[in-house]
Amino acid sequence: MATETLTLGKALNTGLRRALENDPKVIIMGEDVGKLGGVFRITDGLQKDFGDQRVIDTPLAESGIIGTAVGLAIRGYRPICEIQFDGFVYPAYDQIVSQVAKMHYRSGGRLSIPMVIRIPFGGGIGAVEHHSESPEAYFAHTAGLKVVTCSNPQDAYVMIQQAIASDDPIVFLEPKRRYWEKGQVDLDAPLSDAYPLHSARVVRPGNAVTVLAYGPMVRTCLEAATAAAEDGRELEVIDLRSLSPLDLTAAYESVKRTGRAVVVHEAPSNIGLGAELAARITEECFYSLESPVLRVTGFDTPYPASRVEEEYLPDLDRVLDAVDRTFGW
């Protein structure tokens, strides 16, 4: 077993490399993905090794990146589009929700758009405005799109390859503040069976409260669980991984056991993933619940100036506070 210690960013890079090697129809396109290797260097070295026909520096226009990728997909290619930052995806929003998401449906299943739209998302890196957003709910609300996110290098390596191999159009959210965090990566990990792309995973078992998180918040919740354990409370942390479709089988089983649930995400709470999760858990686990499902989220403001983002972002204390409150009913 070839296991290496890689950062999440390097794991993505290695996964992209594998996909380019395995399928000549896979292409990468985006702004600065070539010689520069992307502003986060996720495509570092790929143009050098695969050429500028496979790793394409595009003009600077997001709708054009996605729209031309639709045409390439119709032609039989498997485009991976890089959107440089979360806040820059909106010019491409029409192409994503009206074209990418609906092409299979509108064509009665005759056309597929096997596209991966990679978006570094979320805050915590001290960036200026439009560089720290969490647009997942916009995409998860759109039928025809699938939305996934990884939280660790192993998942990053496997999930990006699974997403590229899938015929579904997939919005692949990368937790940018975790790009530099290291972990063990099994480079021979199978792409199917063991860890299906759309499955949630229990990343820390426990019996006191079920904590649901994804992407950058998984680590925060694991830290909260470590702290809670010192107080004698074992939190069960579930990494959702897939935001659309949601895999709630593990969550339902867990909540029926713990009787309590806390959902944690960086995005604003209003009409967010937390609301969907709370509604589904309430519907499915009503007689098991000891308290309402609580949410710990960003606020219903635009993403704030970076000097106050630590207060905006859910942290260990806010998660633990919510855990405490679930025992107050």
């Binding site: 729209g67 119709i74 299979h104 064509s107 056309l111 699938k146 579904d168 479709p245």
Partner: protein
């Protein structure tokens, strides 16, 4: 314009936009068949290309037949909408020559990306004309196979398909299918209003810098719903191409022969690896934008009458008569075929069944979704719960 901006001081000297100039005799306009039905053997376009066609009598008659048929089928669809059988219809009346001319210039291997008005191109691609009516009746979303017919789905979001066409054309290059006479090309259809859209301008940028084998075919029918061309541009649309780095040409869009010649040349150039070009087919939408609007609110009758005199079918008929390529028997036979096919179309539209409600869950994802499967199952159980349900 900001004070002190040199552009402001020269404004009064700037040439007025010439885009509204009449079609006839306009030196910017490639024309091979005058409104009176006179043939022009060949013209050197402002781009230096020679434009000509060399059709057999049978082919001339075939083009005339196409024009009459698509107009008749379009009229039938308009009537069906008026009788409540279609939710909406976007008529091509007046634009038959632009569509048939460009559509017949396509080769089998070329891929077309239409808007929702390209019924004439659809017809030329060999697609059953009932296909778009399912979309407008609301029983499906357009039932043809884009890959089989090399004609993509109708795109209702204005200009979105120009980017798809560009990407597809980039794929042609990546597949090595240019540079030879049997190469491939793509064509993107859009209207004058679409030229204001970001996507169309992005498509121009992409196609240019990637040298995509693509023809941008703009049918300038003078109105974007109610808004005249002056609300979209201050320069003739074909001239925009120069700023993006590829040739643009204006053709008489009511002249089927010139529309054919100009499109064929542009497609040949594309497939030979010479990159994109923009064709502005200068034409006029004789009817409403769709059956939902009322053109008498925004157009004057004299303008419509002036364009009636340039009718694409009348001039083709005059030419065929003058040249004795067709006789009265032929015209009667074509009219009879058009009548027969439109009656047949009407019967088939009325017979189109509503889809089974549960089919709304089909084809959302190539690989399916467990949540959607669950929703479908619940919906099916609900439908079955009705007393006497056959479901």
């Amino acid at each position: 314009m900001a004070k002190g901006d040199p552009g402001g001081t020269t404004r009064s000297k700037r040439a007025a936009p010439r885009s509204r100039k009449g079609a006839t005799g306009d030196p910017q306009l490639v024309q091979l068949l005058t409104p009176e039905g006179e043939r022009i053997d060949s013209v050197i376009g402002p781009d230096g290309n020679e434009y000509r066609v060399d059709f057999t009598d049978e082919e001339y008659r075939g083009l005339y037949r196409d024009l009459v048929l698509v107009r008749k089928l379009d009229a039938e669809a308009t009537a069906l909408q008026r009788q409540g059988e279609l939710g909406l219809w976007a008529s091509l009346l007046g634009q038959e020559a632009a569509q048939v001319g460009s559509g017949r210039a396509l080769r089998t291997q070329d891929m077309a990306f239409p808007t929702y008005r390209e019924h004439g191109v659809l017809y030329c691609r060999g697609i059953d004309p009932i296909m778009p009516l399912g979309l407008f009746r609301g029983v499906d979303q357009g039932g043809w196979d884009p890959n089989e017919f090399k004609f993509n789905m109708y795109t209702i979001v204005i200009g979105a398909q120009t980017l798809h066409a560009t990407g597809y054309a980039m794929g042609i290059t990546m597949d090595g299918k240019t540079g030879t006479d049997d190469g491939e090309a793509a064509i993107a259809y859009f209207g004058d209003g679409a030229t204001s859209q970001g996507d169309v301008n992005e498509a121009f940028v992409w196609a240019s810098v990637f040298n995509a084998p693509l023809v941008f075919f703009c049918q300038n029918n003078q109105y974007a719903i109610s808004e005249p061309l002056e609300r979209q541009t201050r320069v003739p649309l074909y001239q925009r191409a120069a700023g993006f780095g590829f040739p643009g040409i204006r053709v008489d869009g009511n002249d089927v022969l010139a529309s054919y010649a100009v499109t064929r040349t542009a497609l040949d150039n594309a497939r030979l690896g010479q990159g994109p070009s923009l064709i502005e087919a200068y034409t006029y939408r004789m009817g409403a934008h769709t059956t939902s609007d009322d053109p008498t609110r925004y157009r004057i009758a004299s303008e419509v009458e002036a364009w009636q005199a340039k009718d694409p079918i009348a001039r083709m008929k005059a030419f065929l008569e003058k040249q004795q390529i067709a006789d009265a028997g032929f015209f009667a036979e074509v009219d009879e075929q058009a009548r027969r096919e439109s009656v047949h179309l009407r019967e088939r539209v009325l017979d189109m069944p509503d889809p089974e409600p549960v089919t709304m869950f089909d084809h959302v994802y190539p690989n399916g979704s467990p949540l959607l499967d669950e929703q479908r199952a619940k919906f099916s159980r609900y439908m079955e719960s009705f007393e006497g349900s056959a479901h």
